[in-house]
Symmetry: D4
Subunit: 147 residues, 8 copies
Amino acid sequence: MMKLTVYLAGEIHSNWREELKEKANKANLDLSFVGPQTNHDRSDDIGEAILGKQPEQVYRDDAASDINNFRTNVLMQKADIVIALFGEQYKQWNTAMDLSSAVTLNKPTILIRPESLIHPLKELSNKSNVTVETVDQALDVLKYVYE
Amino acid sequence: MMKLTVYLAGEIHSNWREELKEKANKANLDLSFVGPQTNHDRSDDIGEAILGKQPEQVYRDDAASDINNFRTNVLMQKADIVIALFGEQYKQWNTAMDLSSAVTLNKPTILIRPESLIHPLKELSNKSNVTVETVDQALDVLKYVYE
Amino acid sequence: MMKLTVYLAGEIHSNWREELKEKANKANLDLSFVGPQTNHDRSDDIGEAILGKQPEQVYRDDAASDINNFRTNVLMQKADIVIALFGEQYKQWNTAMDLSSAVTLNKPTILIRPESLIHPLKELSNKSNVTVETVDQALDVLKYVYE
Amino acid sequence: MMKLTVYLAGEIHSNWREELKEKANKANLDLSFVGPQTNHDRSDDIGEAILGKQPEQVYRDDAASDINNFRTNVLMQKADIVIALFGEQYKQWNTAMDLSSAVTLNKPTILIRPESLIHPLKELSNKSNVTVETVDQALDVLKYVYE
Amino acid sequence: MMKLTVYLAGEIHSNWREELKEKANKANLDLSFVGPQTNHDRSDDIGEAILGKQPEQVYRDDAASDINNFRTNVLMQKADIVIALFGEQYKQWNTAMDLSSAVTLNKPTILIRPESLIHPLKELSNKSNVTVETVDQALDVLKYVYE
Amino acid sequence: MMKLTVYLAGEIHSNWREELKEKANKANLDLSFVGPQTNHDRSDDIGEAILGKQPEQVYRDDAASDINNFRTNVLMQKADIVIALFGEQYKQWNTAMDLSSAVTLNKPTILIRPESLIHPLKELSNKSNVTVETVDQALDVLKYVYE
Amino acid sequence: MMKLTVYLAGEIHSNWREELKEKANKANLDLSFVGPQTNHDRSDDIGEAILGKQPEQVYRDDAASDINNFRTNVLMQKADIVIALFGEQYKQWNTAMDLSSAVTLNKPTILIRPESLIHPLKELSNKSNVTVETVDQALDVLKYVYE
Amino acid sequence: MMKLTVYLAGEIHSNWREELKEKANKANLDLSFVGPQTNHDRSDDIGEAILGKQPEQVYRDDAASDINNFRTNVLMQKADIVIALFGEQYKQWNTAMDLSSAVTLNKPTILIRPESLIHPLKELSNKSNVTVETVDQALDVLKYVYE
């Protein structure tokens, strides 16, 4: 069975990654999962944690994003598939950024979004290979690759 | 003077594009500007206008985004520079999508965003060449290319 | 107005190219059109016409396709947009080949196909930016780029 | 012995894939084979199976092709070699699409086609590395890589 | 009529370039031609002419090839089409180098070679779009693009 | 005569760019020249000039380099040829950065360096197409393209 | 745990590579490290050691850089991450060359530089993903990828 | 120790490949070697052996080169390094073709050629990373990568 690496972009305030990993594991799919730092505080603080106290919020944010973008760059280049999940809350521009970058690099992509976000996500949905509403549907798409 | 084409991604509910074009014109910069359909209703309706009535909202949106993505694809490939402006309102995932796509294609990019959006846009800002707060600052950056 | 070059792939037994050019001209769109050799006999004979009589049909066909592929390669690289039209008859694997090649090169694409071909063309339709049924609809999409 | 992955595009109504795999296995070639969903009904139904009932045939087909294209995209990027077989029946535009995409990506390609299809496939044949008539000949080409 | 630039690689001891230019001009094709330095002595001497006397032949040759490769790199990137002519004499490895480079960059290519060189040039011929024996045949292929 | 654009990277404290432009002009070469901001103070100050006072030197430098890198990115993508001149003084890591970037993008390159810098620049020299010691020699190389 | 290869460009007169490897090893990170020849004399002499005595210093240097660039080319293409360290001494144009090349190839990059080099390295710092001052900080960034 | 794959292009009438493999093995380098079919008769006959008797020599050669080019395409894409050896005899345009293709793809390259071929190979030598005269010197370069 072909081994594939899946980058899980998007929402970090629910446990959808754990849910997907567990179900993929139960289905015996030979997948390994990578993704962004999901501890929100750690992600926001990583710049100052490594580079030291910054003079203002904008520099603190820039320092954190240096390192978050480095991490994403490393892991994305290893990914065979990118799945991006948008939740009902938050701006989630990082999710759009990662998904758009994956599409531009011609990586196979799955977009997961609730029905309420159909309209604002229509162009991103159109560019992605597959758009679904639930984690279970995304898992079904992954299973189909191995059929 | 070198002729350059600038794609203006982002917010379509204010007149920032007109403002930028007029000021660039006054400064005698040899720039031509392209961008998305800025008539919001036209943009949302273009799918059904060309392809006919769709059975549900999700298909109506998908039909429109087919054609909007075609348009963006045509114009973006002609652009030497991409400027993306985020306003205080709306999801603006298209703006993030276009900017991220431009960055991935190694096009020179300027991000314009109000101070209030520093935090949610930090990774996109970090990936862009230059981040500014106002249209006038973006114009200053364009002028600097011709100095 | 931005000048764009459009490659017209597909059916060579109807006059859809002339129709499209004429209508684009009337609409004052700054488009130039290129495409395959539309004289079917000339296209089939071009190998022997230049390289001389071949020993069997398979070599005659290969000689012709050398030169047809050269022509397509030259013109496709100049194209900003690719439109492919499938008719009700013929195998039209060249049309599929050209459209798929354009999609893979990330060129903006429009697929024109009659309702009867929805099913066999579903994956190609899904990969293209826009799918329409008539030449007039394709023209509407081109007009939209200039709005 | 170098391990190679071969994508088997094309006809899904005969057992040529099984035949090729078995013979490659007997010849002790270190090849692994991937390819499209070969259960025709499953392939046509996969969109509604995962995304639910669609309002019309065109949407049902588009939903299925979303997922079939995702699958192909995942497996094609892993393939070192692409073999495409055209049979005497069916439109087989997907086969042309996959082969053309492989050629454009500079993947090594073998085209298998019956004598009766020499003429309509002449340009695709010309673009592919090797054109043969039988599965046994394709196997001979694969063996030659390991000589 | 579309303007195209043609790089003329290969033999520098006959006047085939002048012949081709003249005939293309008579046929009113909108072509411009570029190519290597055709003065053999100048080509061999250009390194020392600019960089000064070198200590041995191998350094003299390396100095010349620096500048010849620079020239080819500049002109080849501007070329829409590459034509390479092999004559009966000389090693002509530069010709093979330029043609192979053009093929790898996916530039449309025409190979001109006498019948006597069919065997040693068979792989290069196979990789090129079109192989012909005479300058007139190459001109016919160019004319066909404009038909 | 083919029009070419030349990016002049490197030293900004001597007038070598003016010298080269003038001599190219006298030789009637159809060249246009672009390059970095050569006013050193303006280059260092451009970040604060546009974005406002920064809290510390490191942020002031980062703001300036945002805009300098944007400028270089815009102009470098337009360049057909890159010439980089190293002087006897200064670190000149920007010069190395621009030249290495041009080499990696496969742009034709000329390196100008004094004899005293042969050893520390040996790997960059080896990667460039041509290495010379004087502006006049670089001009000779440019002239050779037009011979 | 994902295995990653890290290319360590830069200073060869201190033991920072050993320090980093040892600490990465203690932290159980699944990293393998590659880099340039760190024996300075060997690096300078490698050309003559293999190719024999050269007539002058400039040819001796060119012969060495042939082989050093070959080595870097082999190892850089295997690297998932590039770390470049600048010390207080030496020109270090090779370090700038390697880092710029990695950035242009879109490899994830970390720049390590002392506070004293902030100003001359500002554009390279701006292009790199992350800039730090110490080897320990670079290690922290690597650890963050595995969190 | 990093595992590397080396493609050995060039001369097939001496046993230089066996010599190199044996010496690399003795030196415990973790290299695997691939290359063209070295049985000359088999290489010339492979087209007819698989595809059947062809009507003339030119078609026999074209059939063989289809399959030889397929083989090279498969193995070259797996190669981390390309070594090309030119002998004193034969046209060896395939060797020039493979080496030029490798250079264009930015693969690290070593050219082996006798002193007598310095002049006709000067441009290819200049484009390759390293040029040596003997197999032992090429082995020394490979060893240097592992130092």
